[in-house]
Amino acid sequence: MLPARPLRAAVTTALAGLALVACGDDNPTARLQPGDVGAPASGGGDLTGTLTGSGSSAQESAQTAWIAGYQGRQPGVTVHYDSIGSGGGRENIIAGATDFAGSDAYLDQQERQEVRDSCGPKGAMNLPVYISPIAVPYNLPGVESLQLTPDVLAGIFNREISRWDDPAIAEDNPDEQLPDLPITAVNRSDESGTTENFLEYLTAAAPHAWPHEPGAAWPVEGGEAAAQTTGVIEVVSSTPGAIGYADASAIGTLQTAAIGVGEEFVTYSPEAAARVVDASEPVDTGVKGDLALDLARDTTESGAYPIVLVSYLIVCHHYEKPQTATLVQDYVGYIASEEGQATAAEAAGSAPISDRLRQRVLNSLELVTGGR
């Protein structure tokens, strides 16, 4: 009835497409040899079910690694993590759309109330399981180490200090020959938890030199902006005289500045980052087992690196399905375990949480209950 030849051509194309659909490989890691990096582990437990979470994109690479690692332990469990942003993650768990949320900020007063609808009267717990140091990479050929006090750092990013041979920088770096170069301060163009934490740090540690309010978007006019962590790294490494801030995992071979803490200068390291978390005050949220923290950005504790991003897993106190409760306990337990933290450190460059914090997370997980 209809024109035959074009129709036949269309049908042939569609069939060819279907043939292609039939022969793909949705499990590419299986091609790796057992000794390879990131090869899947074999064997495992007998839990089954599906767990869904969403939220922070800072956790994305860690979550991908955790899910892959967890698959090796519990092949019967499928975990989905959708990185839609922290706000979306919190919204979803409040709406009961997901089983857990990843979030760079803990639930606020109002959200703690709202979450009771889906998580039972005891509410939800914020568990800090992902610590990511934010490094300050720079590109200055010939300058081996760069030391910056919070005030100088704030001055640079506020575009008040605009050249590398500025006396303010030279004062802290007496041994270095600082070049006569303009400073290209690189910030994130998209809204991000990294920016928010960096701004919070500047506000807390350099209150006089940093006049802006913290927020997810960059407040200073001018300056070079780049999309995503990658963009920042790319610009810094290709531009002499550039300085930026980025998740430490992404730094690669770039040099990073040592940040002034009290009387000394601290370069970022996983231990130094974990230390500032341990030195921070827990927030009194009135929820049993909650581990929300107010980070001590202005800490003077020796050897603590204060520019860190702490991301939480938000889990309910109570799940309607007992199976979900078990899965949440097992999955989050794996994440907090030494092995889980090491996996994330390898994949995402995060700083493993301390043993003390691990114990507290595991204690909180004991409180999770399931059933009607």
Partner: protein
């Protein structure tokens, strides 16, 4: 239709039996037409519904302390980028159109036309990647030179060290809208009445004089219309700007990072937006929709006016 044929058709039509098949088919065709109207209304309605929370929200909770203050700089960036693209692309496009219609051999003209169409077919994300990786770094020396020699003009106040500026994005936009302007212009140039051209040549005009006196005046409304269509496309172009531009707050400096456009702002922030921020971005999309709507209507109006002109031959 003339009166006689109407009268002749009518009695025949009355005798036609309205078969069920006819009624169904007519109904389906009509329904499809109405679907289009419904979709367009739907675009407006659903955007308004999802953007509505912004209007009632406390301005303090919005990104820039108010929707107007948030969206105005974005509108400015969008318009600036698109206008630059239009200004750069139009002369080149008209040049190519004339080349195809009046200078090149017919066969060459056809293949050039195909190449230009190819340019239109390249997905915008590929343009973005190309602009980021190839064009932007090559623009840096030019920007440095502009800053050093013309820096007293505010637009060239300071130079980017990466080349990822509104100017670079605008140039890529110019390449992207080139095919639209070219094809519309080519069409009208080819429609120039032969008599006009030959009359001009017979009067002793050189080829260029013939073009200037016969082809260009005839094609001008079409060129303007095509340019406006190109402007409309540039206003809504997303990925190229989102990838290339190193965005920031609004600035008059075009060769440094900063500025943003509405579509790029949406693309960069939408995947991780939620709550009020989501409504804000959808609201920005609504504003973009209205702007492109206005530009396109204007373009259609200008192109439609050309119909009166071509009645002359």
């Amino acid at each position: 239709m003339s009166m006689t044929s109407d009268r002749g058709a009518r009695p025949g039509r009355r005798r036609t039996v309205r078969r069920p098949g006819d009624i169904t088919f007519h109904g389906a065709a009509l329904a499809s037409g109405l679907t289009i109207l419904a979709i367009l209304a739907g675009v407006a309605i659903f955007l308004v519904v999802e953007a509505a929370p912004v209007l009632t929200a406390d301005p303090e909770e919005l990104t820039a302390g108010g929707f107007g203050r948030y969206v105005l700089p974005l509108i400015a960036g969008t318009v600036i980028a698109s206008v630059i693209a239009m200004v750069v692309a139009t002369p080149v496009a008209v040049g190519i159109a004339l080349f195809i219609s009046h200078y090149a051999h017919r066969r060459v003209g056809t293949s050039v036309g195909f190449v230009v169409d190819l340019l239109a077919a390249v997905p915008s994300v590929v343009f973005g990647m190309w602009g980021w990786q190839v064009l932007a770094p090559r623009m840096v020396p030019l920007y440095r030179w502009l800053e050093a020699n013309l820096g007293f003009i505010p637009v060239f106040g300071s130079a980017s060290s990466t080349g990822r500026t509104l100017m670079t994005a605008s140039l890529v936009l110019a390449v992207m809208i080139l095919p639209i302007i070219t094809s519309v212009s080519r069409e009208v140039f080819l429609q120039t009445p032969r008599l006009h051209e030959e009359a001009a040549l017979a009067l002793g005009a050189t080829k260029w004089e013939m073009i200037r006196t016969a082809v260009l005046p005839f094609g001008m409304p079409g060129v303007i219309g095509g340019t406006m269509l190109g402007l409309g496309r540039a206003l809504g172009e997303t990925m190229a700007v989102a990838i290339i531009l190193s965005p920031g707050v609004f600035t008059w400096v075009l060769i440094d990072s900063g500025n943003s456009t509405i579509p790029a702002e949406i693309a960069l922030n939408f995947p991780e937006a939620s709550g009020l921020r989501l409504s804000e971005l959808i609201g920005a999309g609504l504003v973009l929709f209205l702007i492109t709507l206005a530009v396109n209507l204007l373009a259609r109006w200008v192109v439609a006016r050309r119909a009166d002109f071509s009645g002359a031959n």
